[in-house]
Amino acid sequence: MVDLSSSFETECEIIDRDHRRLVEMVNAIVAAIDGDHATECATRVPKFVKFAKQHFVREEAFLADIGYPETQKHHDHHRALDGKMATILGLAAKAADNQLAREALKKDLVFFLMDDVINADLDFKPFIKVRKT
């Protein structure tokens, strides 16, 4: 199970709230797989991907609004995650019948969330901090 420790906080409440929701969704998917309810992946994972995409849109609008100079770069980073989200959706479609797909899905989800999404969002934390002061 993933927990969102303080080192992953951007200190921007609207972003951190989205991150907490994404963590809850991933934990629910992992719990479903571990609890022998992998059939739920077919509905839970697309909802996770949909929410992640909505988060990207909200975040990019927020960054543009506060004048973050690397907004375009962050937008490009989000677009570059399309392939990984497609892979995750593909694994979810196979999860009910395939043990290897379930294991790969759990790993890919956690790395996608913690490394590609949340850790990458810490890039704008210093800018937000300076702006707050």
Binding site: V2, T87, F111
Partner: protein
């Protein structure tokens, strides 16, 4: 999150920037490989995580405890890290069980010995407890080094090219055994290697580091191999055929056939990279995709496969390399047929610095 969390690490030796804003996370029980050519900064990142170098920029967190920032640093011995290097670094004057006990500081002697024997059992070396390192093979010494690194139950294990001192057969066996032991112990592991196959075998996630320590791509072994971000990443996995072209009607015409451009705009100058296994050779002109007639100019048996060099008929100046099963052995100057396998073919917009960024491996143009 339990495990390793690195964010925004940059590092330079004088004017030589070796790491450029590198971030990564490794949850407990997972293994991440840093893969890249020599000098890309991967060992530097390992030493920074271990506390063997002073952090210049960024943060390093282990099991929710910040162990290094620009302003503060926890001493290496307080980070609860296990380290394993290429040369094993066993103490020659201590027997094997004493070597494994060495890191169990503060533990009662009986308990330490019991723990050391438990670890030796896990790595299949319990029968060697009383022997000295010089009597062991490289593979056996590597197992001892792994037992010693894991005995104190570290929060993080750092492996720096741990198998590069072993011969090919021993390396395959030891890395499989090592992976089993690591999974059994559920420790977060960061491993450095320049061997793509090793990274593919060991890693849950691979981070590709390029020149000046910039992360070129992060992903599962499957993603890195089948969806490389650029020519540098694609080229890391060995020999690659390179062809130039321009996108027309969503595809690129090459001497070996038409290749989909993957959404790159018409009119864009591109390079097409084809793995040798992506050029499919056949003796007969059959099926709906007949292939292009090519002549064989050389063959090289590599063991389980062969590399066959071919040129399109009427265009002997161009030479391409195909990987085939060893039993497929066409005669020199025979005409056979070549077609392209899409999953081993990559199209990237041509960049001005493409030549200087050329990856490992031969290139045909």
């Amino acid at each position: 999150m339990k495990g390793l969390h690195i964010h925004g690490v940059s590092h330079a030796y004088g004017n030589n920037k070796v790491l450029n804003n590198v971030s990564l996370t490794i949850p407990t029980g997972e293994l991440v490989c840093l893969l890249g050519p020599s000098g890309c900064g991967k060992s530097t990142l390992l030493r920074l995580a271990a506390g063997l170098e002073t952090l210049q920029c960024g943060t390093i967190v282990i099991d929710d405890q910040t162990v290094a920032t620009k302003e503060s640093s926890l001493a290496p011995e307080h980070r609860h890290i296990g380290l394993m290097f290429q040369d094993y670094a066993l103490f020659p004057h201590l027997d094997i069980v004493a070597n494994v006990c060495f890191g169990l500081i503060g533990m009662a002697r009986d308990k330490a010995r019991a723990r050391a024997l438990e670890m030796l059992d896990q790595v299949g070396m319990a029968d060697y407890a009383k022997v000295y390192p010089h009597t062991l093979s490289g593979g056996q010494q590597q197992r001892i080094a792994l037992a010693r690194a894991l005995a104190p139950e570290p929060k993080l294990l750092l492996l720096d090219e741990p198998f590069s001192g072993l011969d090919t057969n021993m390396r395959q066996m030891i890395r499989e055994d090592t992976l089993n032991v690591l999974k059994q112990n559920g420790v977060a592991t960061l491993m450095v290697t320049h061997d793509p196959e090793e990274a593919m075998f060991m890693a849950d996630r691979i981070k590709i580091l390029g020149r000046h320590g910039r992360v070129r791509q992060s992903g599962s072994p499957h993603d890195i191999y089948y969806k490389p971000n650029d020519e540098f990443v694609a080229g890391l996995f060995g020999l690659m055929n390179r062809l130039g072209g321009v996108v027309r009607d969503g595809a690129v015409e090459t001497p070996l056939g038409r290749v989909g451009a993957g959404g790159i705009a018409d009119g864009t100058a591109v390079q097409v990279l084809i793995r040798p296994e992506g050029i499919v050779l056949s003796g007969g002109n059959t099926g709906s995709n007949p292939g292009i007639p090519v002549s064989v100019s050389s063959t090289h048996l590599l063991g389980h496969s062969s590399i066959v060099s071919v040129s399109p008929d009427g265009n002997s100046g161009d030479e391409y390399f195909a990987r085939v099963h060893r039993e497929f052995s066409p005669e020199l100057e025979d005409t056979i047929f070549a077609s392209i396998e899409a999953s081993d073919t990559f199209v990237f917009p041509l960049k001005e610095d493409t030549a200087s960024a050329a990856p490992i491996g031969m290139a045909a143009e």
